[in-house]
Symmetry: C2
Subunit: 283 residues, 2 copies
């Protein structure tokens, strides 16, 4: 369990973490093939040991750690118990936890997901949650509200790198493309933030998309997967993030985790990447 998030709103805490540790976010994605290649069981116990080694390797090096919830959920309640422990360990290591759950629902049901992930007393409380806007960004308001109340954050899927995404995310509505509308609606929820400040509501945009939405006015964090093995370059990150670059978390998971199970080897990989993906001067 993560206790009440100290230190103010998520956006501000993220800035502080990034100033100290750089802009690299590493995922904890214990999928079966990785568990096997690490010599671990394909089980909740295997996932627990995987998470322990990953945290030993980079928990104290990066500003944010992103557990991929699917790989815990596949072991049911036993997997979620491992995730509960991991979220606490991420906090203990001084990193922010980004639960990559891509939840999305409406009304009272979305409020249930918000209580699950974004409330102080929740077993699965994280620092920020990824959410999916198929039901409209407005359907996610319970998450925005819960995050604002508890100093947590939300990353809304906007434009993703996978090849099947374009048809939907580039469809055009009354306010432009779906992807741009998502960014604009999230931006509107950060509007109370003063000039030069940063909100706690962010978006997910892949580093490999040729037609990204404009992020300059977002005033919130950006979570950007797709770098490295998936083809995105440092230049892509700069191009897509624009003025949101200082508040951008570059997510790299596979490249790091494939360097395991040796903790020191993973640590070296992360140290090098952390140096490369640092967009603000060390404080």
């Amino acid at each position: 369990m993560t206790d009440a998030a100290p230190g103010g709103p998520f956006g501000v805490r993220l800035r502080s973490a990034v100033a100290e540790r750089g802009n690299l976010c590493v995922g904890i994605d214990p999928h079966p093939a990785l568990l096997e290649s690490w010599g671990l069981g394909v089980s909740a116990a295997g996932v627990s040991e995987f998470a322990r080694r990953a945290m030993a390797a980079f928990g104290d090096l990066v500003p944010a750690v992103k557990p991929q919830v699917a790989f815990f959920e596949e072991y049911g309640s036993a997997g979620l118990a491992v995730l509960e422990d991991l979220l606490g360990e991420i906090s203990t290591a001084g990193a922010l936890s980004v639960a990559d759950a891509k939840r999305g629902d409406i009304g009272s049901t979305m409020a249930g997901y918000a209580r699950a992930w974004l409330a102080d007393d929740a077993p699965l409380a994280c620092d920020a949650l990824t959410v999916s806007p198929y039901l409209g960004v407005g359907s996610l308001d319970a998450a925005f509200e819960a995050a604002a109340d508890s100093g947590r954050g939300v990353f809304v899927l906007a434009r993703t790198s996978n090849p099947e995404a374009g048809g939907l995310q580039n469809a055009v509505g009354e306010r432009g493309t779906v992807a741009q509308s998502v960014v604009d609606e999230v931006r509107r929820r950060n509007d109370a933030v003063s000039e030069g400040g940063v909100g706690s509501f962010g978006v997910v945009v892949g580093a490999t998309v040729a037609d990204p939405p404009r992020l300059d006015a977002l005033r919130g964090p950006v979570l950007m997967p797709g770098v490295g093995e998936q083809g995105g370059s440092l230049a892509d990150v700069r191009r897509i993030a624009g003025s949101a670059l200082p508040d951008t978390l570059v997510n790299i998971s596979r490249h790091v985790l494939r360097a395991g199970p040796d903790v020191e080897t993973m640590r070296s990989v992360v140290a090098e990447l952390s140096h490369r993906y640092r967009f603000v001067d060390a404080s």
Copy 2:
């Protein structure tokens, strides 16, 4: 745990269940206000007792029971343990379980969700899972494949009733509106089904939408919330479902659950609704 789904593909099993019990699907949505009004604790133990009473009231009356996953997830691993038990009890009662989780991700991560919900040996194995297509219907292929392999089903969100949904779901891409494209892509995955047969891949369409996608060619089941307190009428259901009417599950949750906690009172409500929402002759 639900054991290996017997009796063939989900679409066929659903037809058989509907012929026997009608087209009404009831949700198990133990949100905190309901728990309190039933005199139960807002806790995993309260949720467990809520589910027990709901199953006693209607588990043997309806073809399908739909647990709303958010209201279990908010208690973390303890809540998911309750859901694991409930999924088994739904099966024991002779109903099909529809886990309303609205999961959606890409590639190996979607495969993780598919293993979580659509595999025979999964602690959370259900008969059908709701999924969300913001990342493109193609991103959900791991779920379609897992469902086909294990005789389970998938319901993809297409056009929902909530007021915030229209901007995105009515946006227009190369293949028409987002909602229609989702239906068409799901339909394509049912295309191997012969004339008059039914596939296992369905869609979610709300009963209150004025501009629903065409469902006539789907050859798969339809999950339709929004009836009753939310404003949708029997005429709306008929209009929207079209020729998919026999394979349509009309979902009503609040109206039933508010009749609790008395089991017999809920049972009477469900019996009356089951009579009203029956679109095929009793077998």
